[in-house]
């Protein structure tokens, strides 16, 4: 009998005092664990389809990648020379149709070289047009 009375008088309150501590701990955890991802890249707006075909004319400057060698308008250049020559063209000040630089690469050209050429062209305001090799 006595036990029953005691049970009725018990107040079952949820302890909420530590809720704020838990919440702040969670915030701190997320702040420490979160990484703000900022990748570094180069933008390249490649013309496609008909635009690419239009871009290919005799006057359009061409960059050839043959393995480790780089050719700009059929003259062997280093990567630094390529950047200098592209800067001299002042592509950024020209209209979009005149900013096209053709990029041709031989079979087996590694992406590293391709990326460097792409970066040099894009950073100088050029629009890259990939030259497709004709299938025989």
């Amino acid at each position: 009998m006595k036990n029953r009375k005691e049970k009725k008088n018990r107040i079952s309150a949820i302890p909420t005092d530590s809720f704020s501590d838990i919440a702040f701990l969670l915030i701190v955890y997320f702040m420490v664990a979160t990484t703000l991802l900022k990748v570094k890249s180069i933008p390249a707006d490649l013309p496609s389809g008909e635009k690419a075909a239009q871009a290919q004319s005799e006057k359009t400057p061409i960059v050839n990648l043959r393995g480790a060698e780089i050719f700009f308008n059929d003259k062997a250049v280093s990567m630094e020379d390529l950047t200098t020559r592209l800067a001299a063209l002042e592509l950024a000040q020209k209209e979009s149709a005149q900013r096209v630089i053709m990029l041709e690469s031989a079979r087996g050209t590694p992406y590293e070289n391709y990326f460097k050429a792409l970066a040099a062209i894009s950073s100088n305001g050029g629009v890259v047009a990939i030259v497709e090799a004709e299938e025989k």
């Binding site: 702040f24 969670l26 707006d45 087996g108 590293e112």
Partner: protein, 136 residues
Amino acid sequence: MALKKKRRTVPVPVASMGDIAFLLIIFFLVCSEVSKEPDVDLISPRSAHVKKVESTVVARVAVDVNGRIYLDGVPVNAAKDVEWGVRALLTSTISDDQRHVQFKCDAKLPKETFEPVLQAIAEAGGIIEAVGDLDE
């Protein structure tokens, strides 16, 4: 006679701290986006021209060290699948700022592997954001 100033004890209201903390957690949970960065095995190329990307990308394409192609972290069979995938994602875009497609590729891969993927992105109408590391 100098009067002693009584030090008032100002109680800091801490009752609502828990609510504020939980509101902050909910805010971060709602606003944060789970990274879609594909966890692929590759070594990024290096260039002195890479910059931190400010624009948001509509899709992420990666080509790993074995030449496997991934679209938003999901492996695809061929470059043509990338074209259709990117094309589908770009249908709901309005401006050029929404056309950026992130492209990651292993530095050693040959042209035959990565160039069809680049062309597929260009054909789909995407602006390529070629990811690389800064060459200092």
